[in-house]
Symmetry: C2
């Protein structure tokens, strides 16, 4: 079920078979440098989220550029990253069930690993797994700072859970996880700032209560590519868990900056290369990438460098593109590049990332943790 | 990048790790039997679409039940199916580019294979590939019967292309491909019937023109799970390319039958097993499957057998479910089953299908053609 790469190292861009997941290495590296420099200048740690790329080669570039480690969402992702040499991993998510917790405890024998919890029964289960494996697991309390998903309420509920972690014989209290997902995609600068201000107050209050009982938080983690500047400016968070900045989803490019214009912190490094496989009408083409090559949960992909074209529809194996002026229409067999609406689930559809620089394939990176669901 | 299965043969249903793609074998087999019996009774051939399951074990069950072969959309899918022993494959799609056409020609040395075309230049390219491989390739003309995607126009344009195929030294004219995608998802019985009536007239007219020139169509293919009864009743099509009936997407279950009630030809055999990983509020749970375990291009998944629950949101690794009555809310660690809105791209996210009967895991089927994009 693992597929061959769509290219060979040394191929020209036009020789890459399609559909293929292509990364512009210059843009990727500039994105990584820029976020690393930001974190270093502001004095916050950077722990990028590997759920975005699921690729140990990119995780290594991030760590070489200054990241303290990575985040994962699944034990299987963490295992794949550890097997590829990554040694400091925060599972920024709850892990439930004996089999998964045993794997997490086993992993902690090999690399530095931490996990989140939001439920007392789950804390007891993590402690029992650590005991079975004769290890100590680091556990963060996840608090809901506005996302409405997982997490205890800030304040008393978080404090109660932190006490339970600290009191457990095989656990170490590691800090607080406070990620605000919906804030990432609020379109205006002021909406995003306001959401993180509220989150920051809830988080600060919780940290004060913890510190009053001597519970110090090694990690105060959160922030995404849509909001990281606000978490950093607050002075409350000490680790940024940004993921999408390496690739830049089309959806993030729709966010507005302080001046009302598009946010332009990072470039689009990731595209789907696709080929015109049908040109049935003067104003329409069909290309060979569809819902099995990119996802549409954050909207249709955008066309890169193809003036006059508009993506109309995605079906399982096809993209339908309309051209207002028939003269703009590419011919059968020509290639186009699509910028995915949402990179994370899109990358998860592919086994390989084709790395390109100066029009040639420079590397083929396995998406190590593709399909690592549990 | 290929993952371990979420279970072992003999496991109880509750021992399957999550998220996992689970198939109820009794329901699957009943679906396969029912469609085979329908085709046999009506005197049409059945060539199910393997783009739905991408799984040679299921393709074999379909063929054992009477199907004449299978359809694929990609050369890579066809290669995977051929490698697993399937010997009659129609690529019901255009294949463009020398590398892919060479692979198709190579494949034709091993199994019976046919492909579609809608462009004279592509016909010439297929002919050249067949010549390079000293083989004869069977080519169908795809006509657009209302889908607005690939395909020549019915009538004169189709005839011109068929002549070109018939005249090419290394090609055999194989018939007509006439699939109406949008008709599958029109909600009322009358809308679907009307769409296929129009398609059938266009197709009949085209076939008459072909036959008048001595171009007989071995395959007149089309039909999907939403419309197959209409194509069959028309007497124009001779092969059904239905795919989704084996699993039954939630979206198809929203179609109305002749009586205005839901269509109930086939049962839901495929679910995503998922576990409650957070229960942060009395009316809300979060489970461990998200956009990397199912797709939402045809809407959110439905809950199977979980009264009172409503799927609110899918994020990358989470599903948020609301319960109007807190007493209905499952507890942390309990399992639920989700019926995907769209099975085809959902199956493509998974390496394994876990086959269950009577509450026990009976088989683990590789999704052979998962990720076969080109």
């Amino acid at each position: 079920m693992s597929q061959c790469p769509a290219a060979r190292i040394g191929d020209r861009l036009d020789e890459i078979d399609t559909p293929a997941l292509v990364v512009d290495l210059d843009v990727l590296e500039a994105n990584i440098r820029r976020m690393s420099a930001f974190a270093a200048e502001r004095g916050v740690r950077l722990r990028p989220h590997a759920k975005t790329h699921k690729c140990s080669a990119i995780a290594r570039l991030q760590i070489e550029a200054g990241a303290v480690g990575i985040c994962c969402q699944k034990v299987g992702e963490a295992e794949a990253m550890a097997d590829a040499g990554i040694t400091d991993i925060l599972v920024s998510n709850e892990v439930v069930g004996r089999r998964k917790l045993d794997r997490l405890a086993a992993l902690s024998k090999r690399v530095r690993v931490a996990v989140c919890a939001d439920h007392p029964g789950n804390v007891d289960d993590i402690d029992a797994a650590a005991a079975r494996w004769d290890t100590v697991l680091t556990v963060l309390v996840e608090i809901d700072v506005g996302g409405g998903r997982c997490g205890t309420q800030p304040g008393e509920e978080a404090l109660t859970l932190a006490r339970r972690i600290a009191a457990a014989p095989n656990l170490r209290f590691g800090g607080v996880q406070a990620y605000h997902g919906p804030a990432q995609h609020k379109r205006t600068h002021d909406e995003r700032r306001a959401a993180i201000e509220v989150a920051g107050r809830d988080l600060r209050r919780t940290l004060d209560m913890l510190e009053a009982e001597g519970l110090s938080s090694d990690i105060v983690g959160g922030a995404g590519t849509g909001s990281y500047a606000f978490e950093t400016a607050s002075g409350v968070w000490n680790e940024l868990q940004v993921g999408s900045y390496v690739f830049m989803d089309h959806d993030y490019a729709l966010n507005q900056g302080a001046d009302g214009g598009p946010v332009q912190d990072f470039g689009h490094s990731l595209t789907i290369k696709t080929t015109v496989m049908s040109a049935p009408a003067p104003d329409r083409i069909i290309t060979d990438a569809g819902l099995k090559a990119y996802t549409t949960d954050c909207g249709l992909p955008a066309l890169m460098g193809c003036p006059g074209g508009e993506v109309l529809k995605a079906s399982d194996e096809h993209t339908t593109i309309r051209f207002a002026r028939p003269g703009d229409r590419p011919a059968l067999g020509e290639a186009l590049h699509l910028i995915p609406g949402h990179c994370d689930p899109t990358v998860n559809l592919h086994d390989w990332i084709v790395g390109v620089r100066g029009g040639r394939v420079e590397c083929l990176w396995p998406v190590d943790a593709r399909g690592a669901l549990f």
